[in-house]
Symmetry: C2
Subunit: 186 residues, 2 copies
């Protein structure tokens, strides 16, 4: 009779220990989500507000560069905004996981959407990076000129706005790993 | 005494049932990996062997387009090759999971690397897609011309080679979901 009680106590202690670790995972999950929100929001805003008007102009043309001159940059802004909105919506779920650390289905759903959103964010960021690279270096074989020689601050701004996106991408990998660890430990 | 036996039998049946489902997940995991290997290998080969020489030439210039004229396409080939090699290396782990469906640490490691490789593959595919789009449409504001008007078969080949990559990307999302489900059911 006494042995049984000990066993049950041991099990419940182990379960409580596992629960505490899972709660820690969930809190880190929440923090990472906030970091990713800041990263994607910053990227979207800094790319979306990029424009440059050159100080010289001819009678007919004013030399002006704006982010939506290049469709890829528009996609970048849209992708970052969508991912940012998703992250804001996922925060309540993350808080529920802190309270109820044994949740299973909601974690699975979150892993699926995290993976899909990571793909979207990576697609936007690397497509924009390919265009930024082209703007800096140009391509002699395709006769594409490096526009950064004229639009200097435009190029710096667009290059800089990639950072938040790529950082958020890494955070997403960690988010997926955290959710998977919590599921494994449950 | 009899009740106890029934309870134990019930538990072991449930465990066996869970094990069978996990084995099913692991077999699907293996199949998906093979599909992704075919997709990435096909993409890498079809992009890597792309070149076109135009039938007309001047005294000094032969018009020739090759995939490595554009650094982004080189990155695409490298990314697809790396992901393909990773997938081949992950096949033994996947087979181990079919035999031992209760594995935990190895599944976690696999989820982490799957997520990282998905990011790499998506980056390569969407960067190449951005350049392919530019080659098809050009960009009037940046004075980049659509080279597809001259290099027709080159453009078709590069566009086509994106398909395998994007399909593998979707397969990776499913792979992550499968591993997470197996962890949750363990």
């Amino acid at each position: 009779m006494k042995e049984e009680v000990v066993v049950i106590e041991g099990t419940s202690k182990a379960a409580m220990h596992g629960g505490a670790i899972n709660k820690g995972y969930s809190i880190m999950d929440l923090i990472f989500r906030v970091v990713a929100i800041i990263g994607t929001l910053g990227s979207a805003i800094s790319m979306g507000t990029t424009n440059e008007t050159l100080p010289f102009f001819t009678q007919f043309i004013r030399f002006k560069a704006q982010y939506d001159d290049l469709p890829t940059f528009t996609f970048f802004v849209v992708a970052n905004s969508v991912v940012c909105a998703y992250l804001v919506l996922s925060i309540p779920v993350s808080i529920v996981h802190i309270i109820n650390s044994r949740a299973r289905i909601s974690r699975l759903i979150l892993i699926f959407f995290d993976a899909a959103m990571m793909a979207l964010l990576t697609a936007g960021a690397s497509a924009a990076a390919a265009i930024v690279y082209l703007a800096h270096k140009g391509n002699a074989r395709a006769n594409w000129f490096a526009i950064c020689q004229q639009f200097n601050s435009f190029c710096e701004r667009t290059s800089g706005s990639l950072i938040g996106s790529f950082a958020s991408m890494v955070v997403f990998i960690l988010l997926i790993l955290l959710s998977a660890s919590a599921l494994a430990r449950r």
